[in-house]
Amino acid sequence: MSEQAGGSSVPGRTGSVLLDVQDLEVRYGAIAAIKGISFHVEQGEIVALLGANGAGKTTTQKTVSGMLRPAAGSITFDGQRIDGIPPHKLIDLGICHVPEGRHVFPRMTVEENLAMGAFRFRSPDQDVLAHVLDLFPRLKERYGQQSGTLSGGEQQMLAIGRALMGKPRLLLLDEPSMGLAPLIVQQIFDIVRSINADGVSILLVEQNARQALSLADRGYVLETGELVLAGSGRELLADDRIRAAYLGEELAS
């Protein structure tokens, strides 16, 4: 819960664009879920993607990680077009996705789940493993236990730890605080901050807007498949429309 230094001191930040999404459209059959959005993530940034349920946050992340194919638009990662590349190849570029709902492998042990995160390597990197277990001491305690028996918070830690085993350059986090107790949520956000401090760029999807924006360098607000607001974390936190949304009122757009 310690306040860390402001974003500008984060190592690895060069101001160069790591992920660039242009005019992205994604459909589920006849339904257009994403209707032409553009955003980017710079090297070393935490970018928050906010929006109500059904706004299209998950769809956007799934398209970036290759789980969905865009109907139109382009996705560029580190200067390379990546739209249409299947997820099992995308991870080799260093895009690691912690999906909504955690999706740990419930019948595998914690150890095996972490090993799955390093599947793209010949064998798991022991230094990374040690680092992950340092970040999440609970996982060390539960190392040989079946993951399906873990608590929600522990599963979220495992899902993040598993993604770190893949040595991400860009980490996609989809609602990591969903359904967790406030204390655990705080822990998770602290760890997200420290992962970013290690130089990993992060695209963070959250409904917990206040916490996400206080962590993020910049943020975007999605509404039914369209971007309605963009700005620095501080600006968005001060924005009336965001404040309105906090109070559960309609976004004025």
């Binding site: 990680s65 789980m67 299947p86 997820p87 099992h88 991870i91 080799d92 690691c96 996705h97 999906p99 999706h103 492998f105 419930p106 019948r107 595998m108 095996e112 090993a115 799955m116 995160g117 599947f119 793209r120 598993r162 893949g166």
Partner: protein, 316 residues
């Protein structure tokens, strides 16, 4: 007692072959949630493939010594496994993958499987003149009795089949639980989209799962063809029984398939011949198949998730 042991050995012999075939059903079900009904023809292909290779290499092989018998067995197992693996690989490519690409409904897979099954059976029938009773030369001296504990007659052939099957099952168990390929297979079975996020190539993993299941069924085809006779329709009954065994153990559960196979083999041989000690059979050996299928029905009605429950794949 002696009759009990005789039927127990017969049950274990048949059961270990059911188990080998059942593993293929369960592995494929794990990754695709699909019963590969053409699997029985993969088993049949193993018998023909191993026969062709072994006969080509060894000929009639009269009066083989112990070491040569071991080599013949190994050659048969390897040839059967390769034949089964090749047929299963092609089967997945031709009969299933195109449907998967198109997102076809489950029923389409079932129909494709039945079509592939008929095709393979008829193809081998055509190639081998539809003989109902092709036979291996008697390399292992089938009639030869190895031991006679309590007056029972335990044959070399039975011991060879059980040991081969058990070794193959141990090998598979290690492969699935202890290797990266095995982890990929389990991850695909538990949650394929997430496995893909971890870098697992789902198509390739499915292909390899068919190859592994096909190799086991092909090896079983050799053992079965060697113990009995083989024909282009030999797959039907053992195939259904192995499917029953997979369901018995919990479809999708690897150890369940092994236990289910052995249990089914023993049950179908011991139950109809009880009481063994008195000598007079109870309902008689001709009821073997009836017992096997009644067991399948009972399991489906009272415990559809099988003895160990679905384990490799998602919960039912």
């Amino acid at each position: 007692m002696s009759e009990f042991l005789n039927f127990l050995m017969l049950g274990l012999t048949r059961g270990s072959m059911y188990a080998l075939i059942a593993l293929g059903y369960t592995l494929v079900y794990g990754v695709l949630q699909l019963i590969n009904f053409a699997h029985s023809e993969v088993f049949m292909a193993g018998a023909f493939g191993s026969f062709l290779v072994v006969h080509l290499v060894v000929g009639e092989g009269e009066g083989l010594g112990g070491f040569e018998q071991l080599l013949v067995t190994l050659l048969g197992l390897v040839a059967g496994a390769i034949s089964g693996a090749v047929v299963a690989f092609v089967l997945e490519r031709v009969a299933y993958r195109p449907l998967r690409r198109r997102g076809a409904p489950k029923l389409a897979f079932l129909i494709s499987a039945i079509g592939a099954s008929f095709f393979l059976s008829q193809l081998f029938g055509k190639l081998f003149n539809r003989l109902g009773n092709n036979q291996f030369p008697d390399y292992l001296h089938k009639g030869e009795v190895l031991w006679t504990p309590f007056g029972a007659r335990i044959k070399l052939l039975q011991v060879v089949i059980i040991i081969s099957a058990v070794l193959l099952m141990i090998f598979l168990d290690r492969l699935v639980s202890g290797t990266k390929l095995g982890r990929g297979i389990r991850a695909t079975a538990e949650d394929a989209p997430t496995a893909a996020l971890m870098g697992v190539d789902i198509d390739r993993t499915i292909s390899r799962t068919f190859i592994i299941g096909g190799a086991l069924a092909g090896a079983a085809g050799f053992l079965f063809g060697y113990a009995f006779v083989f024909s282009n329709t030999m797959g039907f009954i053992p195939g259904i029984k192995a499917f029953a065994a997979a369901v018995l153990g919990g479809i999708g559960n690897i150890r369940g398939a092994m236990i289910g196979g052995l249990l089914l083999g023993v049950a179908e041989n011991l139950i109809p011949t009880a009481p063994w000690v008195g000598g007079d059979a109870w309902i008689g050996q001709e009821w073997t198949d009836v017992v096997a299928f009644v067991l399948l029905i009972l399991i489906l009605v009272f415990r559809p998730t099988g003895i160990l429950g679905e384990r490799l794949g998602r919960a039912a």
